[in-house]
Symmetry: none
């Protein structure tokens, strides 16, 4: 097969998967997890049911794909923030704000797999990697803050993890409380962390 046709097909496939991904996320936001039926996804994507099965072996595969992209999307978001050149305390603040903004939109991002029973699908390595990437972002900011003399010296590895846990906990709690905003909670988190980090501002 010539390489051009091959490339073209791949592009088409990606476009289709994109459409399915976006349709899935829309359905998820509109009808919740219980509304995530193949028919519903197909409808929203404007394609036939059968077409879904041209791109994914079965429902589980499709949802796994959606879950991974969604998660990556979130991770990229916070990694971008961590890369910015800005004072560490500002970046920390941004990270929290942006993260919650993102999750307010895709409020299922870190628990989709779990709810869909896809936990066993993802290889352990990959899971660990997700966790490490997220924690690394925070740690990087903490380390920068220390070099910038904004934060006091401390074990940034541990504190980054704990900070991450607290963010996840806030997301969960927020979801549980069904509360529209997590501003109060995230502010509490930032306050406590600033104290902990010795950030006087």
């Amino acid at each position: 097969m010539n390489s051009f046709a091959k490339k073209q097909r791949q592009v088409k496939e990606e476009a289709a998967k994109d459409a399915i991904y976006e349709a899935s996320v829309e359905v998820l936001l509109e009808h919740g997890i219980d509304g995530l039926k193949m028919q519903e996804i197909a409808n929203k994507a404007g394609i036939a049911i059968g077409t879904l099965y041209n791109y994914f072996d079965n429902r589980e595969s499709l949802l796994y794909y959606v879950d991974c992209r969604l998660r990556n999307s979130g991770l990229n978001h916070i990694e971008e923030i961590a890369e910015k050149s800005a004072p560490a305390d500002e970046k920390l603040n941004d990270l929290v704000v942006e993260f919650f903004t993102f999750c307010d939109k895709h409020h299922i991002v870190f628990s989709l797999a779990d709810k869909l029973g896809l936990r066993d699908r993802m290889p352990k390595d990959e899971k660990t990697d997700v966790f490490e990437r997220a924690a690394a972002c925070i740690r990087k900011i903490f380390d920068e803050g220390i070099s910038q003399k904004l934060f006091r010296e401390h074990d940034t590895n541990k504190s980054a993890k704990v900070f991450f846990f607290a963010i996840i906990g806030i997301l969960e709690t927020k979801r549980f409380l069904n509360s529209e905003s997590s501003v109060g909670f995230s502010q509490d988190l930032l306050d406590v962390m600033n104290t902990y980090l010795g950030n006087e501002k």
Copy 2:
């Protein structure tokens, strides 16, 4: 109707609900959330499926009941610990250890409602109350720690919430990673908190 018969009936009803609750938890642990079928619950409880509907209007009601009891069970657990007379730092440690032990067993306790789509079922007040009770336990320990001169003075309201968030985050992360133990994570949390609280031990 005479009061004795009424009482008797109530006792019987409670006994039945107990059995159903316990059966549900067993099924949950054995077959996971996907195995939580009415038939399965009835089998495990040793009653007919129709009987379930004498005590609960429908599946959702039953699961809501189970979820509430399960959550209360967890809360009582940590409240007991918070009531103990012991040094605050020891109690804090115990709380974390006990809480994770409990959740290792009933690892669904705080997310059952969510997964079952029961979020909208619980009145907002009650949800808030759950959160407040949990946070109050921690706050109580922090306050005691301050009186006992074990912890430094600080805004215990905020720190208790953050501590709680971190615990929930660890649970979530642990579930996500499917990792058997959360010892490492909870130790990180305790280390960070002890630093934060100025607990020198």
Copy 3:
């Protein structure tokens, strides 16, 4: 559980299976094998689709049951004839006539399993047994015919098998030709066999 209730339930179960069996056969005769859908069977039996699954694990189980009963029904039929006290030549004639009459009604009797892809479902022993039972009937008649001096002495084991093969072959051919009657073919068979058996009548 008391034995009466147990018995009663079994009777009910049998009745239900009977109804399903008969409905299946009717559907088979009416719509052919391609019309043998669960919905169709349920409709014909006057029950709900779900009810079918109270008595059979899945479509395959149901069809296997139908197939076995149908086959047994045919075997019993010819075994009855073989048991009759009558001259062997008459019995041989009856067997052929009755067998084809039966198969005209249930013209799928010996090939249902095959068409439904159930071949692998039946244990080899059972299959062999079916064949042996059928052949034994014929052999019995041949042996009687020899004692009655109606047939000449010969290896009845072999000839019974060959006779059976010819019957099956006629059934197949008939089915292939879609011809309404097999009278001509079975008469040919009887003629040839009578010559072979030395039956002068």
Copy 4:
């Protein structure tokens, strides 16, 4: 249209049909009747699925074509044997051996139409013709045997049919029993027939 182009197209069409036929048979042998899907056939033939529909109106047409060719192939096989110049008893033996060898390979040859629900598709004349051709081969051998004084005089029309029925019956039985070899059965048939035919060898 010029005749050359016409011819060329026909040749191409035949080549394509050949490929499709062979692919179908391969798929049949590899995946069984349930695996006989249009996609599978196209894959095996190395063409696109849409191309199948350039040569056949629909699945049924294709399978009908395959079935006819397969059957003809079998018939040609035994007709060749019947044409051979060799002693009749030897030819009879060969016919049986070769026929079963052929059917061991294409063990569906005589029942494919039936299983695929194509029975109604074949014109009655053609079906009768198939049967007549097969019977004629055997009859020819019987007639030759009589001229060669190998077999006794008898109604070869009837006996040829019965012999044919028995062969078909053996095939069916064999298929039903899923037994690897039909040597025993066909030997029984030959023994009985030799006795019947008065062939002393």
